[in-house]
Each structure stands twice: as structure tokens, then as C-alpha cells.
């Protein structure tokens, strides 16, 4: 099982000091956080893509290329790459390029994006969101698996005799996850291609995530990629830890109360009861995270949101020490102990290459 972190890259004032980092500080800080993730033994770091302040990461492969050069083992991923408003040709080329530079330590999570104006800013219409995700990914998939592509669709200029360059590393495209909070169409899409399904999970009640994952597993089996419990599932999570759980609650509360996404709404206690957010001791985080398996089954990837809502970098790095040293080793052991042998790990470049040296089955 893979454990990692994901970030949305928000530039948020620290509510306890009023200080806002510059964009440059935040971007460099995200690099140091990713390096720390590798240092403490996590498997991957995933970066969001946004095109509106207060978020800084508009250019994921620039970021990931830089992080790749400054790490040696960490898998580089996204959370998410906008499949709707990006040109699929550029995604095919950018991520293949990144694969070569990062020696295959690359996968990506596709998402639609839910910021209304971003669509028209990129010449698209949010009402076409699902259709764009379906058509664009179909083209992306072909560009990675077929040498020469002839293609005509509704949403982009036709291609005739086109070869995306560079070709995927070793002829193996990056493994793709599809992220969605509430659209069965995206779970259906992930199932059809035998790709992974990522449930962000962190702002939603468990029963909702459970239904989405259950549907994806069922359809994964329907399309002949394996049994339902062999489908590739990833989950988001969100934690804040201190050795003493009361200290964690006290320290995190002002960040929670003022957080951009859910601040000024429910109390910290209500929100932790309703969503996977866990604020407490490392042991509480371990117990809660092990509980996710009870409603999504044995899964392959667990990401944690650690750096947001204005938390200072120093605190985030301390959190990663706790995560890497005290939480993840126990989670690895405990999840492995209950996982049946026929449940696969999340595909990596090495595993896909070893499987048959061919692109993943479709």
C-alpha cells in the first residue's frame, strides 16, 4: 500500500499571526515538504492544479520536474490534473516528458475542476464537464498507447498523422487515477479503462465515498479487469497530530475555524465526526485510518492533506515526522496483515513494465 501527501497549494494567512507567505515562499515550501515526505519514508507526493488565487500550483509538471530532480525515490503525482480544460495533447507530452526525467516515478490523477470561470478562461463550458473528461481522456489514452493517431472529436482541433512526443518511458504510460467526489460517470470511466479511482473523501461523509467506491469496484469487474476487490482505490485523508490529543485540538482549532474550505461553519468536533478529518494523537490517526478499509475494502493508496489553511511550514514538517515515523509504519503493517494475497498493489512504472512491458490493459 502506498502512503503519501497531497496539497492544493493554497496561500492562506496564518490565522494565529496574520502572516501570509509570498507565492514564491509557498512554492519553495511545497518543494521542501515533498522532500521531507521522501525523507520520512512516504511513497508519494501529489500536487493540485489551479488557475485562480489563492492557489499557486498552476503548472504541475514544472513543479514535479523540479521535485523529481531533488528526490530519488518519491513517486510524483497530481491531485488533480484538469482533464477538462487542459489540452490532452499537452498532458500526453508533458507527463511523458516528466516520466523520462523522473525515471518513471510518475503517475497522475485526473479531475474535472469545479471552479466555474476556469472553464471559459480556457475556452470551455462547465456544462460540458463530463463530456470533456470522457473525450479528452479517450484521446489522451490513445496518444499514449498508439504511435500515430488520427482523431476527430467535439472539443479540440482534429489530429491526423500525429505522434505525441516523447513516447511514454519504456512504452508504458503513467498509471492514471480518476478523481471524483460525486459523479458516477467518472467512476464508470475509471472502471472501463481499468484505471485507478481516487475518492478525495476529506470533505464528505463516509457513506458517500462508500457508494462511489462500491460502484467503481462493481464496474471494474464488469469490464473484465479483475474481481471487484482487485480494483485500484485511493483515498484522501486529513490529519493534525500532537502526542497529546488535547494539544492537537488546541493548536489546530484556529486553522480549522478559519480554513478556506470549511471554516466558519461546523465546529471542529462536528466536522471530525462527519468527515475523515482526525485531530489528535498518532494512535487516533492510526485507528481512524484503519477504519477506512471497513467501508471501501482493501485499498491501494492513502494520501493525507497536511499543508493548508495557513499552517506554518515548520509545523507541517513536524507533522510529517509524526506521520512518517509513528503512523505510516504501523498502518503498513496493519493493512498488510489483513489484506488478502489476491489484492494487488497500486501499479508503478516498474510493476507495469514487469507485467508485460505493454501499456495497461484496456
Amino acid at each position: 500500500m502506498q502512503f503519501g501527501i497531497f496539497t492544493v497549494g493554497d496561500v492562506t494567512p496564518d490565522p494565529t499571526t496574520g502572516r501570509t507567505p509570498s507565492e514564491g515562499e509557498r512554492i519553495k515550501s511545497m518543494v521542501r515538504i515533498a522532500q521531507k515526505a521522501e525523507e520520512v519514508g512516504l511513497d508519494l507526493a501529489a500536487f493540485g492544479e489551479h488557475h485562480n488565487p489563492p492557489f499557486v500550483p498552476s503548472s504541475p509538471t514544472t513543479m514535479l520536474g523540479y521535485v523529481a530532480a531533488n528526490t530519488s525515490r518519491l513517486i510524483l503525482s497530481t491531485a488533480t490534473t484538469l482533464i477538462t480544460t487542459n489540452d490532452p495533447v499537452k498532458i500526453a507530452e508533458d507527463y511523458a516528458m516528466l516520466q523520462h526525467l523522473a525515471d518513471g516515478r510518475v503517475d497522475l490523477t485526473l479531475g474535472r475542476g469545479n471552479t466555474g470561470p476556469v472553464y471559459p478562461w480556457f475556452g470551455k463550458d462547465i456544462r460540458d464537464g463530463i463530456d470533456l473528461a470522457i473525450e479528452n481522456y479517450h484521446l489522451l489514452h490513445r496518444l499514449w498507447t498508439e504511435e500515430v493517431v488520427d482523431w476527430e472529436g467535439k472539443h479540440r482541433t482534429p489530429l491526423h498523422g500525429f505522434t505525441a512526443t516523447p513516447r511514454p518511458l519504456d512504452g508504458v504510460p503513467p498509471f492514471v487515477w480518476h478523481g471524483s467526489i460525486r459523479s458516477p460517470e467518472i467512476a464508470e470511466q475509471a472502471a472501463y479503462y481499468g484505471d485507478g479511482f481516487f475518492a478525495n473523501h476529506i470533505f464528505w461523509p463516509a457513506e458517500h465515498t462508500q457508494k462511489m467506491v462500491e460502484f467503481y469496484r462493481k464496474r471494474f469487474e464488469h469490464y473484465g479487469h479483475g474481481a471487484a476487490d482487485q480494483a485500484i482505490v485511493g483515498l484522501g485523508g486529513q490529519v493534525f497530530m500532537r502526542r497529546n490529543s488535547q494539544d492537537a485540538v488546541r493548536e489546530f482549532r484556529p486553522y480549522f475555524d478559519n480554513a478556506p474550505v470549511y471554516g466558519h461553519g461546523p465546529s471542529l468536533e462536528e466536522f471530525t465526526a462527519e468527515t475523515p478529518l482526525t485531530v489528535g494523537s498518532p494512535q487516533q490517526v492510526i485507528d481512524r485510518t484503519l477504519g477506512f478499509r471497513e467501508y471501501v475494502g482493501d485499498y491501494q493508496r492513502q494520501l493525507f492533506l497536511m499543508d493548508h489553511a495557513g499552517l506554518p511550514e515548520k509545523v507541517v514538517l513536524e507533522q510529517l515526522d509524526l506521520l512518517g515515523e509513528e503512523v505510516v509504519p504501523v498502518l503498513r503493517k496493519e493493512f498488510a496483515a489483513v489484506r488478502p494475497a489476491h489484492v494487488p498493489d497500486a501499479p508503478t512504472h516498474a510493476s507495469l513494465l514487469a507485467a508485460n512491458g505493454q501499456p495497461i490493459a484496456q
Partner: protein, 211 residues
Amino acid sequence: MTGATPLGRRSIVAISAGLGAPSSTRLLTDRLTEATVRGLAELGIETDVEAVELREAAHDIADNFVTGFANSKLRPLLSTVANADAVIAVTPTFNASYSGLFKSFFDVLDEGTLTDRPVLIGATGGTARHSLVLDHALRPLFSYLHAVVAPTGVYAANEEWGSADAETGLAKRIERAGRELAALVAAREPAAEADPFATATAFEDLLNGTS
């Protein structure tokens, strides 16, 4: 219809956005509910009624705006509405319109919840001068939500609760509205909450753009 075998069973959710206790909005809601139940009984249909006071869900509705999801207290309420065969929706008149709480509740309902769902609208206010709130505010809201709004909406001004019915006609309006809603309910199959997973489009159709 004494002795007649019921032709079926339907459910009504009666939503009051009244804030006081007791509330004249709740009073009107209850009267409209009773009239509808009588109307359905005349058509041989038994009715289950769920009365909802939005006041009790005010915090949860506000949280839904901020967090983007319905919490565990609000979800059963949304589900009740989605599974109801008809909705009776009654609001006090605030500043020439429905109350903010009333609108907020319909803003957090999932899209499509009220499509083709019979709805009876009602409103209360200090004086009869506000009675057009029904047709200027409530009716357009429910038209937008693709609900089937009963032709008669009922507005009750404070003074009407203490006036001779021959003068105000409030009881008659309530009775007529209830009968209209009952007829709309009886003409439809029982409602069921949409299951997005059961009706999901197969991938080939998504790809062919035939969804």
C-alpha cells in the same frame, strides 16, 4: 368513502419555515396538510405525513452552505423530501419574499429532487398586502425547480385567523388547495428517491455522447 378500500398509500412532507412557537406559518401548514389528507382520503388514498420545522435544521442548512455537504442530521431530512409524493411548503413573508431560511432549504436540496413533484405553496404575513408573495416569489421558485405547483396557493394574513370565514374565505381556499394537491398526487405513481448509481450511463454511451 366510508368503508371503501384504500387505493394506495402516499406520503406528504409538510415544510414550515415559521420561526415562532407557536407559529402561524405552522398553523397554516397543518391546516393545508389536513385538507390534503382529506382530499386524498376522498380518492381512497391513505396518507403518511411528515411535518418538518426548518427552524430545527437551520444550523445544519447553514453548515451545508459552508462545507458543501449535508451532515448526518440534515441527510435524513433531504431524503424524506426526495421520497415524498408531495410537498407542502409554507413560509412567512419577509421583506416582500420568502424567508431566507425557506429559500436556503430548497437551495441545498439535490438538483432534480422536486422535478414533477406536486407542491402546494403557502405563505403567512402581517397583512393581506403581501399576498402576491405567492405568485411573485414562491411560484417562480418551484417552477424553476420543475415542480408541479397546485393552482391554488394559500396566503393567510394575521387578521384572517380571527375573522369570519364568510368574509375571508380562508377555510375555503385551504380546502380547495388541499383537494388540488390530492388530485395531483393521486394522478402520479409513488415517488422514489433517485439513485444516481442505478441509472448511471454505461461507458460506451458516454463515449458516443448519447448520454
